[in-house]
């Protein structure tokens, strides 16, 4: 059964799209990542024009994130205060990122920059998370009780504008989440993703938030980032395909609910390990595509407009 997508201007298999939405939604609910870094390449692979894929995925991620946030909120796992501070940083960052994107585009190497930054960021984050979570798992198997210090003090803790984040059990400078939000904002504007896969590790390792709170809080700020991106694309490029978004949403919101339930059964280090593994696989695939000889050296794109 096929459906014609009015903005993408191609026909696609209904069940293929629903299946993809469901699978990505599942991951989204489990790990608190929007899933854009997986969904966008998948859509391009099945023939959706890249511009339509990026814009439509951001619309779909909004829905999946809302679904996920509501589920986490009921479990009391969303730190709204932290989310808002991150978001303020994110808005500033994405404005800067859009500016950088425009410069890269005029130089003509934006595709390469996207792929390279994916490989670098996914590779680094994935590897670090994987090592950390495996170590944590080994430690817990051994049953050795390594008493961690309750409070570790770095130069970071000397920063001004201290704020108390009750849900996250943190008393840190507001500059930290603001800076991380800004950095992720820059990246997400350049790479065309919600930024969850950068945000989640940053919240865990840089801010020291508990994994259970991280996921809901990350999803909370992704809602606003992706809604903003959707609106900008709808106005400037008319590349949001509501038909495609609706199909992806209808299965991904269900997937996100199921994913949240799965996630709740796993321990923090297991979740982090699985996310790391997924990130590494995507990274390897992208690196492979950069190096291997393409089937056709030529690519076509619409000129003008």
């Amino acid at each position: 059964m096929t459906v014609y997508l009015p903005i993408a201007e191609i026909s696609v298999n209904l069940f293929l799209i629903l299946g993809m939405g469901g699978a990505i939604g599942l991951l989204s609910g489990m790990f608190g990542v929007g899933g854009g870094f997986l969904m966008t390449p998948l859509l391009i692979f099945i023939g959706i024009p890249p511009a339509v894929a990026v814009a439509t995925v951001s619309n779909q991620i909004t829905a999946a994130s809302v679904s996920g946030v509501l589920a986490h909120w009921r479990r009391g796992n969303v730190d709204f205060k932290m989310g808002i501070v991150l978001l303020i940083g994110g808005i500033v960052g994405s404005a800067a990122g859009t500016w950088i994107f425009t410069i890269l585009k005029s130089v003509g190497q934006v595709d390469l920059m996207i792929s390279l930054s994916y490989v670098i960021f996914l590779g680094t984050i994935g590897a670090l998370m994987f090592i950390e979570s495996v170590n944590a798992l080994i430690d817990s198997r051994k049953g050795s009780i390594k008493r961690k210090k309750l409070h570790q003090h770095y130069w970071i803790h000397g920063l001004p504008f201290k704020m108390r984040f009750r849900k996250s059990k943190l008393y840190i400078s507001a500059l930290m989440p603001l800076g991380i939000g800004a950095l992720v904002g820059i990246l997400s504007a350049i790479m065309g993703v919600g930024g969850g896969f950068v945000m989640v590790p940053a919240m865990i390792y840089l801010l020291g938030m508990p994994t259970s709170v991280v996921i809901g809080t990350s999803l909370f700020q992704i809602i606003f980032v992706t809604a903003n991106v959707t609106l900008l694309h709808a106005i400037s490029t008319q590349t949001v395909d509501v038909m495609l978004a609706l199909l992806l949403m209808s299965s991904s919101v269900v997937g996100a609910q199921v994913g949240t339930r799965f996630g709740a059964k796993l321990r923090g280090e297991q979740l982090r390990g699985l996310l790391a593994l997924m990130v590494i696989i995507v990274c390897l695939k992208l690196a492979f595509d950069l190096v291997v000889t393409p089937d056709d050296l030529f690519t076509l794109s619409d000129g003008g407009h």
Partner: protein
């Protein structure tokens, strides 16, 4: 940008053919009567492609000049600008290095004939009429020696996507005068104003040519969405976001068991 009105384009086509190939008034004239099974293809939300029947009759005035001629049928889609980029290996990574911009690239091109076009007319004539995917003569912003491989890439990739086709035995004659052919319109067909051209050749000479318009349009829900997205982009964006919020909330409400 406003497209040229259809009638104007058709008459322009007739004038062009007339200028290129003046038919002597002394010789006998054969003419074509042609039509398409449908002049409007509606791309609805369950569109999976379609087949068009193109048919016609040859009217031969000169009774001494009997015997079948050759018929070529061409369907051209709207012309667009296309940028072709070529990748090269730089420090182990494949990078886009060179680009050529082409103007007047038909988004769809289908050719059907009763035998190989090279046997029907001379290369010169075929080139002037732009018949066959390899003779479309796109306008490049680079000299021919550089743009040739880029042009071939367009033809190769469009052919792989069923957007360019060249069927050498697809025109069937029923007797000497009636002919028909089918042209497949794939699901990924670009929408727009198309033109169907019919050429009658005899001994390598163009005797007659006709053309008819063909419209491929979105319709139904898809059409509404498309129009909304382009007419009210901000409102469309807000609607898309609201849709996402509602979808997320509904799913969460349904799954709320506790």
């Amino acid at each position: 940008m406003k497209k040229l009105p259809r009638n104007f384009r058709q008459s322009l086509f007739a004038v062009l053919i007339g200028c290129l190939f003046p038919v002597g008034s002394a010789t006998a004239q054969s003419s074509l009567v042609t039509d398409i099974s449908s002049h409007l293809v509606s791309v609805t939300s369950d569109f999976t492609g379609t087949e068009l029947l193109l048919f016609g009759a040859i009217q031969i005035d000169d009774e001494d000049n009997l015997g079948p001629g050759d018929v070529l049928v061409v369907v051209r889609g709207p012309e667009k600008e296309v940028v072709v980029r070529r990748k090269e290996r730089v420090a182990g990574i494949w990078v886009n290095t060179e680009a050529v911009e082409f103007k007047r690239v038909p988004s769809f091109y289908a050719l059907a004939s009763n035998r190989a076009v090279e046997e029907i007319a001379s290369p010169d004539v075929l080139k002037r009429l732009r018949i066959g995917p390899t003779r479309l003569r796109f306008q490049a912003n680079e000299p021919a020696e550089k743009s040739l491989s880029f042009e071939e890439a367009i033809i190769r990739q469009k052919s792989e996507n069923d957007l360019y086709s060249d069927q050498e035995t697809a025109v069937y004659f029923l007797g000497d005068k009636l002919f028909r052919t089918t042209i497949t319109i794939p699901a990924n067909v670009p929408v727009g104003d198309y033109i169907a051209e019919f050429y009658l050749f005899k001994d390598g000479e163009l005797l007659s040519a006709t053309s008819s318009p063909l419209f491929i349009k979105k319709s139904g829900l898809g059409r509404t969405i498309y129009d909304f997205a382009y007419s009210y982009p901000a409102l469309y964006g807000i609607a898309a976001i609201l849709l996402a919020l509602i979808a997320g909330w509904i799913a969460s409400a349904i799954f709320r068991k506790d």
